[in-house]
């Protein structure tokens, strides 16, 4: 048993002149939930389908459980997939849907049905086996789709935007269910979404993609606290991007000077600062001005005009909030910024 469940090595997928996935490499550990995150059209679904075997790579190697499956069809791999539309078979009952995999792989029909019943019960669907999918609610249909995907104990469980067909109000609950299930069964799971908040909430690790390439891989905390590129900083959470210069071991922009933890550098540079890493102090002689103050219930959000551009600042509720027009001093916390790749 290897620790690595899935491995991509220099995988490329082209459709004619379109390169949907452009030389990506990563590996996913057993029992981990990894999210593919990125804007629409960046190649998330294609990457997921490459794992499933619904697409084969134009170049590169895909390994599942240590085996090279680059030219193996979907049916020859052991993956479970929950489709965006659930893709339940409308002409089969719920139990037939769930027992489909074990039956079609040549298993005993009765054993397959029993196993299906068990899984249905575990997902809180007991008693619904004889119904047709069209007789279930949307949430129930999704759980049937999940049951169907995990009944064969797949090497990896794949979700393509599983919340896109779920009522906005239920999304948080459903995503927690999925996370809970993944932990309960100790499944390796890959989850595709374009919603960064969703990705931060469910993932062990996130693969951020952009234009067919991987922008950064890391835990939610790593990605949030130290985005490596402008794209990641911008895509995950809110970020203030400040452009300036290296001066020795310092980063300088306008009247701002920050000591860099790394070695000295040269030429222009950009840093990313999260809004909550900035402290404002009311000061009549301050160099910056509050241009907008917004009350958000749990915190304040201020727009501040500085010598090096506008800043978005998030501040806890205090008894003496700032107001538009106030002059302030700006302080960026010493470990609250990241130097971005140029």
């Amino acid at each position: 048993m290897t620790e690595t469940a899935i491995e991509f090595v220099d995988v490329v997928k082209r459709y004619g002149s379109v390169t949907a996935v452009d030389r990506i490499s990563f590996s996913i550990r057993r029992g981990e939930l990894v999210t593919f995150l990125g804007p629409s059209g960046c190649g998330k679904t294609t990457s997921l389908r490459l794992i499933a075997g619904l697409e084969l790579p134009s170049e590169g190697t895909v390994r599942i459980a240590g085996q090279d499956v680059s030219t193996r069809a979907a049916a020859e791999r052991n993956v479970g997939m929950v489709f965006q539309s659930y893709a339940l078979f409308p002409h089969m009952t719920v139990i037939d849907n769930v027992a489909y995999g074990p039956t079609i792989r040549g298993g005993d029909k009765k054993a397959a049905a029993e196993r299906g019943m068990e899984i249905l019960a575990m997902l809180g669907l007991e008693g619904l086996g004889k119904r047709l999918p069209s007789e279930l609610s949307g949430g129930q249909q999704q759980r049937v789709a999940v049951a169907r995907a995990i009944v064969q104990q797949p090497d990896v469980l794949l979700f393509d935007e599983p919340l896109s067909n779920v009522d906005a109000k239920l999304r948080r609950r459903v995503r927690e269910e999925i996370r809970d299930l993944q932990r309960r069964f100790n499944l390796t799971a890959v989850y595709v979404t374009h919603d960064q908040e969703e990705a931060l909430a469910v993932s062990d690790r996130i693969v951020v993609m952009n234009q067919g390439r991987i922008a950064q891989i890391g835990t939610p905390r790593e990605l949030y606290n130290s985005p490596s590129s402008r794209f990641v900083a911008d895509f995950i959470g809110d970020a203030n991007l400040i452009e300036g210069q290296f001066e020795g071991t310092s980063f300088v922009a306008g009247d701002l000077a920050l000591t860099l933890p790394g070695g000295p550098g040269n030429g222009p540079a950009t840093i990313s600062v999260r809004p909550e890493q900035i402290a404002l102090a009311a000061a009549p002689q301050g160099s910056a001005t509050v241009t907008n103050a917004i009350y958000l219930g749990s915190r304040y959000e201020y727009l501040v005009e500085t010598a090096y551009g506008p800043l978005l600042v998030s501040a806890p509720i205090t008894s003496a909030p700032l107001a538009s027009g106030d002059r302030v001093d700006v302080e960026i916390r010493p470990d609250g910024f990241t130097l971005l790749e140029s």
């Binding site: 499933a52 075997g53 619904l54 697409e55 084969l56 680059s70 030219t71 193996r72 069809a73 979907a74 049916a75 020859e76 791999r77 052991n78 993956v79 479970g80 997939m81 489709f83 965006q84 539309s85 893709a87 339940l88 078979f89 409308p90 002409h91 489909y100 995999g101 079609i104 792989r105 040549g106 169907r148 995907a149 064969q152 794949l158």
Partner: protein, 734 residues
């Protein structure tokens, strides 16, 4: 079943086993028919034949042994080995090379005979072993490609693609190529390329004398005149019918739609015969006209007028269905807008309705034009001296002046005309028309027709209805009265018993009637062809709608082509291609079935594509991720969801096989005669009542069979002929 499959896979897969059997066990050559007695003993397998001096059979044998060796060394995924596609490809080329290079009377190139003396003796057509090897090589190539990622690694899909391409090549393109080369040979088989020009420019093809003088025109010109007139009249009548159904309060709309289905199940010749019975020199109507109005009896119905009448009767329902769609799709609000702007009804029709109709009209016209060019049954019955291409081709092959080369040139001309019209049509329909396609719009009421137009429409439609009723009245009663043509209406079963007499004697059921043989063959061939046609049609639809593979565009074009070729051309091309080795299958029942399969598959294909475009493809993907291979997915998920398409295809394939004439007329033999060929013989002898009785029997059988198919497949929806003319719904607009 499953265990057997697993075992076969363990042993290296079906194709390896078939291939080994093909070269080691099965007789390689076509067995001589039992009645020819003896002949050269050619019962050996490829291996024994090769050792006996036919060394050119060695490569396939060696290739198969090499594959078996690979299986032993490499395990179950042996086709993944890098050498396999090259080896299989080389074996396939050498296999084809010997099959086509060494004919019945020896090698095509003299040098071969020097290297291998046995080649001088020639070789007969491929037999079970020969064909099995072709199948095995095709399958091994497909498997090895699948293991390199072709069709996303799906073996079933890869096999399906490669096999369908191979079959289309063999049974659609190859015959056409053979036809082309036949045009370059004299009747005695001497190669003379100049002959093509001589034949092509023959004066009796292109003469325009009928336009300026009073002599006959050339046969090509005749064909075009008929096609254009038939197209125009059918379109006009179809439009009138569509306007009545969509835009007036006509009360018998249901009946009209029902009548429009009749031509589909009407055997050929019967309409022609009915027209003769009604309007011939001794016809019923002619007699009345003579009696009541002293209108002299003439033979006007033989020739252009008669053919035209019969064709319009047959094609108007098709144009009607096309135009009904167009008329119903016109959004009434446009017409209302015009009216509120103050336009009079006729002005509205002229400025709004008519321009919106034009693309539909063009499509309907081209459709009827193509059908007219391909029509064989009506011209041969009603032609008189009016010669058209399909008839001339027929007599060049089966007549006393047998000249395959000449038939080939005529067929090429006919094919060119048809393909041009077909190309125009697909271009026209492929482009988005500017009709406001919203389906049946319920926003607003359609403008009623202006009165003069309404009158004209009724004036066109009512005679058509009367005429149709008259014709089918003849069909219904003609077979069961003494002589309908002379208006002798005494009921009799004489004709029926001539054809279908039987007796329960001491030897059990005995069939005496002269038509039993052809009826049995027809029903058997149709019953075999219908599921096979459907299978290949639906499979092709699945490949086009669901698979991405290199060369898919050409693949689609090929399937379209197979359906655009007129039946007569298919018939001649099959004669040219399959009368000689290596694929020597004329005179068998197989060639009839094959002919139907490839002619009728496009209907199933289009119905399948349309049905598949309604189905979320992630269902199939779900099935595959759960471990179902392509075939299991097709069987358990796709097929149950597209039953109506299967039904449409089955019905269409069955009915067309029962009523087809233009292609099979070239392919029937004494042993395997078809009903339509038999009927044609009766018509030529003037035995009209017998022909009509047989046709009525055929129609009853078809109706019963449609009911049975409906029970089996289980969905109500009659196949409409027009479906095959619509551009496939799921084709991407490129």
């Amino acid at each position: 079943m499953r265990q057997a499959l697993t075992l076969v896979n363990r042993l290296g897969g079906l194709w390896l086993l078939v291939g080994l059997a093909a070269v080691l066990v099965l007789p390689w050559y076509k067995l001589p028919p039992p009645d020819t007695g003896g002949g050269a003993s050619l019962l050996g397998s490829a291996l024994t034949e090769a050792l006996a001096g036919r060394w050119w059979l060695l490569p396939p044998v060696l290739a198969m042994l090499a594959f078996a060796g690979l299986r032993l060394g490499r395990g179950e995924r042996w086709p993944a080995h890098a050498a396999v596609p090259w080896l299989a490809g080389a074996a396939a080329i050498l296999y084809l090379g010997q099959a086509f290079g060494i004919g019945l009377r020896g090698p095509a190139i003299d040098g071969i005979a020097q290297a291998m003396p046995a080649a001088a003796l020639g070789q007969p057509g491929l037999g079970v072993g020969g064909f099995a090897l072709g199948i095995a090589l095709t399958g091994i190539i497909a498997d090895s490609l699948a293991m390199r990622g072709f069709c996303r690694g799906e073996r079933f899909a890869a096999n399906a693609v490669i096999f369908v391409i191979t079959l289309l090549t063999l049974f659609v393109f190859f015959p056409i190529l053979r036809l082309g080369s036949a045009a370059l040979f004299t009747p005695d088989g001497v190669f003379q390329p100049g002959l093509f020009v001589t034949r092509f420019t023959a004066p009796d093809l292109w003469g325009l004398d009928c336009l300026v003088g009073d002599r006959k025109c050339g046969v090509v010109i005749n064909t075009l005149i008929l096609g254009i007139l038939s197209g125009l009249c059918s379109t006009a009548l179809g439009l009138a019918l569509a306007l009545i159904v969509a835009r007036t309060g006509f009360r018998f709309k249901g009946a009209l739609r029902a009548i429009s289905i009749l031509p589909i199940i009407t055997p050929p010749f019967v309409v022609g015969v009915a027209i003769i019975v009604l309007f011939g020199r001794t016809g019923v109507v002619t007699g009345w006209l003579d009696l009541l109005f002293d209108i002299p009896r003439t033979r006007w119905v033989y020739g252009l007028p008669g053919i035209l009448l019969a064709q319009v009767l047959a094609f108007a329902p098709i144009t009607f269905l096309v135009l009904l769609g167009t008329v119903e799709a016109i959004n009434p609000t446009l017409e209302e807008a015009s009216k509120t702007l103050g336009a009079k009804p006729f002005a509205t029709f002229r400025t709004v309705t008519w321009p919106l109709l034009r693309p539909g009209l063009a499509a309907a016209f081209l459709l009827a034009f193509i059908e007219s060019l391909a029509d064989f049954g009506n011209p041969i019955v009603l032609g008189g001296g009016y010669d058209v291409l399909s008839i001339r081709i027929f007599f060049a092959v089966v007549g006393a002046r047998y000249d395959l080369g000449n038939a080939a040139v005529l067929a090429i001309i006919l094919l060119t005309l048809t393909l041009s019209a077909f190309w125009l049509q697909t271009r026209w329909l492929g482009k988005k028309s500017y009709v406001t396609v919203t389906g049946k719009s319920d926003a607003g009421l359609s403008a009623p027709l202006p009165d003069p137009l309404k009158a004209a429409v009724y004036l066109a439609v009512i005679p058509w209805i009367l005429f149709t009723l008259g014709v089918y009245a003849i069909v219904v009663i003609g077979g069961f009265v003494t002589d309908v043509a002379r208006f002798d209406l005494a009921p009799t079963l004489r004709h029926l018993s001539t054809a279908f007499a039987f007796e329960f004697g001491q030897f059990g059921l005995q069939l005496y009637g002269s038509a039993w043989d052809s009826l049995q063959t027809t029903v058997l061939v149709s019953a075999i062809a219908a599921p096979l046609t459907t299978a290949i049609g639906i499979l092709t639809a699945y490949l086009i709608a669901r698979q991405n593979f290199a060369g898919k565009g050409a693949f689609e074009f090929g399937t379209m082509l197979s359906f655009a070729i007129p039946g007569t051309v298919v018939g001649v091309s099959y004669v040219a291609a399959f009368n000689v080795p290596p694929v020597d299958i004329t005179g068998t029942m197989a060639i009839l079935v094959i002919c139907f399969m490839f002619r009728n598959m496009p209907v199933g294909m289009r119905a399948g594509i349309a049905a598949l475009s309604q189905i979320d493809r992630s269902m199939e993907e779900a099935s595959q991720t759960m471990g179902a291979n392509g075939f299991a997915t097709l069987r358990t998920v796709v097929l149950p969801l597209i039953r109506p398409a299967i039904f449409t295809s089955m019905v269409y394939a069955f009915v067309t096989a029962m009523t087809a004439v233009s292609a099979v007329i070239f392919l029937v033999s004494a042993r395997h005669n078809m009903a339509t060929a038999y009927i044609m013989g009766r018509v030529e002898n003037g035995e009209y009542p017998l022909a009509i009785a047989y046709s009525a029997v055929l129609m009853i059988i078809m109706i019963v069979c449609i009911a049975i198919i409906q029970l089996l497949v289980g969905r109500r929806q009659l196949g409409r002929r027009s479906e095959m003319h619509k551009p496939p719904a799921a084709l991407p607009a490129e």
